[in-house]
């Protein structure tokens, strides 16, 4: 069976295991050959920012895991336009090719899913 999984990243990285453990769920769902998408909103958009130096606080570099999403056949990484713009960031500041989505389309994206995870 194939279901549509959407993983919603809404928290900033680095202060907790939230992002790392969300990525673990994401990759596990992908390993089960499910249709997997990611949506980054609010402070979750900081996860994809270039130039992060996690080694300066001895924690895991999550950007390497984001980079590996392609290999796992992840369908799409969506970033909410308003969340990005509202933080002074542009798609060029992100270390990954993403689909920019206006806030007004988020509802429709969610309706297409079977499973939505936020934390």
């Amino acid at each position: 069976m194939t279901s549509a999984f959407l993983f919603v990243f809404s928290r900033p990285p680095h202060s907790s295991l939230h992002v790392l453990e969300m990525l673990d769920m994401t990759l596990t769902a992908a390993a089960f050959d499910q249709n997997v998408s990611l949506l980054l909103i609010d402070d979750g958009v900081y996860s994809l920012r270039v130039g992060q130096k996690p080694e300066s606080r001895e924690c895991r570099d999550v950007s390497a895991i984001f980079d590996s999403l392609e290999i796992y056949d992840i369908d799409s990484v969506y970033v909410e336009q308003e969340s990005l713009a509202g933080r002074g960031l542009r798609s060029g500041d992100l270390g990954l090719a993403v689909d920019i989505l206006p806030r007004s389309d988020v509802g429709a994206l969610m309706r297409r899913q079977t499973v939505i995870v936020n934390v």
Binding site: M1, T2, S3, F5, L17, H18, E21, D24, M25, T28, A29, A31, F32, Q34, T114, V115, I116, V117, N118, V119
Partner: protein
């Protein structure tokens, strides 16, 4: 005729639940428990509850709080004894939080968790979510 009732109960769904917050810093675990109980009473199935993120603290090394305090974990243990429900605590989340990394096999980690829970991997969550009609996530900060 009794057969007629089957048609009235067509919408019997399968639920998968996830608990992502520690038992006493959020109401998430308790809400999930009450949702599970209500769903089963209405004839739905709740196959599995997966404990992840700080939700693993719901099962770790637990005995019981003093008698005048509420006991969220005891509710789960009791439910697991009464109903067919699979309470799974994520092994990697447990290990990341520093619990017994030397004992790599799940059998020995099993000794760390409260009665009614079992230790297993994220695959168990994906499996439950695929088979379920609805997956609900509980937790968050208060």
């Amino acid at each position: 005729m009794r057969g007629g009732m089957v048609f009235q109960r067509v919408k019997q769904l399968k639920f998968a639940l996830q608990v992502n917050s520690a038992p006493y810093s959020s109401q998430g675990s308790e809400t999930a428990y009450r949702f599970a109980k209500a769903a089963m009473q209405l004839g739905h199935e709740v196959d599995r509850v997966f404990f992840y993120f700080d939700g693993v603290y719901n099962a770790l090394g637990y005995s019981a709080p003093p008698e005048d305090e509420k006991n969220v974990v005891g509710l789960w243990t009791t439910l697991a004894a009464q109903k067919k429900i699979d309470l799974v605590v994520c092994v990697s989340a447990v290990q990341r939080r520093g619990w017994a990394h030397n004992e790599s096999d799940n059998d020995s980690l099993q000794g760390l968790v409260a009665k009614g829970f079992r230790i297993s991997g994220l695959g168990q969550w994906v499996d439950a979510a695929i088979k379920a009609d609805r997956t609900l996530t509980f937790g968050g900060d208060s």
